[in-house]
């Protein structure tokens, strides 16, 4: 090493499918440790086998049958793989890093870095639950998942849980909300928005919103990638590559569901209910807000319950940054947020440890003032989930 040059460090390394699961936090460790950081979309290993002990009656036998099957996916016996990736198996030649399932120890190791103050756990395995055609089976899985998650992750410092409900069984969904809402570690109810038919603003789902409003438990819509489902725009019939499905599926579903909820007047009927949308990116927000406003001029009489423009309801919705679009200029994210008026509603989300997770550098590369950065990295999420400021 030359004495007058910069410091040189040499390190032998290994190729890896998943080397950056949480190393990315170290890069900004000092800078971030001063701030409140809430990662509002975190996933742990919640594959079906964990739910077996929580299933009852004939559905327990059924889950045993499912667990004996080998679906050749990763992980085996995965509900997601049964109805998601199999159609496009191998299409990307295994190039995107594999979605490593995070065990509880992995989550704790990430939290112990002292950078992230809160991780909000959302389901993985049950995200496609809205797609299941049998309401009782779906409700049974949701009930088992919620109790498993509470038993496994309650009283874990900085870890909070979003319970999941089966939208196709609104009565059972309301019961689940009643059962768990007062638990101090349950901070949201996740409504999986994919495959749900009719759209999620339908009168049918009123008991779910009523229960959440009764307990002031915020609702989070969380999308999922490709499912084999011919009900566009909920799904995929018109695309023949996974990339197209993945790119359009999340935002299209989110736009559909937001439109459905707002046009049904649910924010008017339940004014204290808070909503968030996760895993759909951000760039479509201005589109749906102002497109609806334009149509509202002509069709307001179809929506007599609304007391103001659709965008004035939607701007109150919270939104997770993942999967953060790669905007070309460093000042673009601020401009986008200004367009949808999201300074107080945008929340940083990584989707850790899924394969499309965002590294924090993807957010930090955008220029913004420190006040806005603090809000997005943590303060807005404290508000949405009702969390105690940690520092």
């Amino acid at each position: 090493m030359e004495s007058d040059g910069p410091l040189v460090k040499v390190r032998k390394v290994e190729a890896s499918y998943n080397p950056v699961q949480d190393e990315d936090l170290d890069q900004f460790g000092k800078e971030l440790s001063e701030l409140t950081i809430v990662d509002v979309d975190v996933h742990v290993d919640d594959t079906l086998m964990f739910m077996l002990d929580y299933m009852e009656g004939h559905f327990r036998k059924r889950l045993e049958t499912v667990l004996q099957a080998d679906f050749k996916g990763e992980p085996g016996n995965s509900l997601r793989n049964m109805i998601a990736h199999i159609a496009w198996l191998g299409s990307s030649y295994d190039k995107p890093p594999r979605a490593k399932l995070a065990a509880k120890e992995d989550l704790l190791a990430r939290m112990e870095k002292g950078i992230i103050d809160y991780s909000i756990l959302f389901p993985s395995e049950l995200l496609p639950i809205g797609y299941l055609p049998e309401p009782e089976w779906a409700a049974s899985l949701a009930k088992a998942y919620n109790q498993y998650m509470v038993d496994a992750y309650q009283n874990t410092k900085g870890v909070k849980i979003a319970i999941v409900v089966a939208p196709q069984h609104p009565a059972s969904a309301a019961e689940e909300i009643d059962r768990h809402a007062s638990h101090p570690d349950v901070v949201s109810v996740c409504l999986p928005d994919v495959g749900v038919n009719p759209p999620i603003g339908d009168e049918k789902y009123e008991p779910i919103y009523a229960a959440a409003a009764r307990h002031s438990l915020p609702i989070s819509f969380h999308g999922i990638e490709a499912l084999i489902h011919d009900n566009y725009p909920l799904r995929v019939a018109h695309f023949h590559t996974l990339m197209q499905v993945n790119s359009m599926g999340f935002p299209f579903t989110s736009m559909l569901q937001i439109m459905s909820v707002v046009c049904a007047g649910i924010p008017v009927r339940f004014p204290n209910l808070k909503f968030a949308v996760l895993e759909a990116g951000l760039t479509w927000m201005p589109f749906i807000m102002y497109r609806l406003d334009a149509a509202y001029l002509r069709y307001r009489t179809e929506l007599p319950a609304l007391e103001k423009k659709p965008s004035e309801y939607i701007r109150d919705w919270y939104i997770g940054t993942h999967e953060l679009e790669a905007l070309p200029r460093r000042g673009d994210l601020v401009k986008l947020i200004e367009l949808y008026q999201g300074q107080d509603t945008t929340m940083w989300a990584s989707d850790w440890p899924h394969l499309e997770r965002d590294l924090i550098a993807g957010f930090m590369r955008y220029e913004m003032d420190e006040t806005l950065r603090r809000k997005i990295l943590g303060e807005n999420a404290l508000e949405f989930f009702g969390l105690t400021p940690p520092k």
């Binding site: 030649y93 190039k95 790669a326 965002d358 590294l359 993807g362 590369r365």
Partner: protein, 130 residues
């Protein structure tokens, strides 16, 4: 970020940074070299050394940890047939799967090229030329 890394037209003296003895850096091995604030990924593929800028411009994942494999191309050259090419020479970013040809630093499917660095073996030492 990458533009700053392209000083090809600027004249300046070359700086040589010894990495490690060649015997310790066999085929299949890779190292990450940090020079000041710059990370460089160095690979030995079948006895040939390749060095590239070590952080993916997308979200800064460490390219030194990426797998090396081939990829598919479809162009006029292949008569618009999809073909598997460059087996073992395509560096796949461990973050989200962006692909780079280790020989040129060029990203497949993007108008983007990572800076590459010359690697020489001098007196048994694998040495980066900056």
């Amino acid at each position: 970020m990458t533009q700053k890394m392209q000083p090809d037209t600027r004249s300046r003296s070359q700086r040589k940074v010894p990495i490690m003895p060649a015997v310790d850096f066999p085929h299949g091995a890779r190292v990450e070299v940090q020079v000041g604030r710059v990370h460089i990924a160095v690979f030995n593929i079948n006895g040939e050394y390749f060095a590239l800028y070590g952080r993916c411009p997308h979200q800064s994942a460490p390219l030194s940890r990426g797998r090396l494999q081939g990829t598919v191309i479809c162009s006029e050259e292949t008569c618009w047939e999809t073909k598997w090419v460059h087996d073992g020479e395509v560096l796949v970013c461990p973050g989200h799967g962006m692909e780079y040809h280790v020989r040129s630093g060029k990203a497949f499917g993007y108008d983007l090229k990572l800076r590459t660095y010359e690697v020489v073996v001098e007196e048994g030492q694998v040495t980066l030329v900056l």
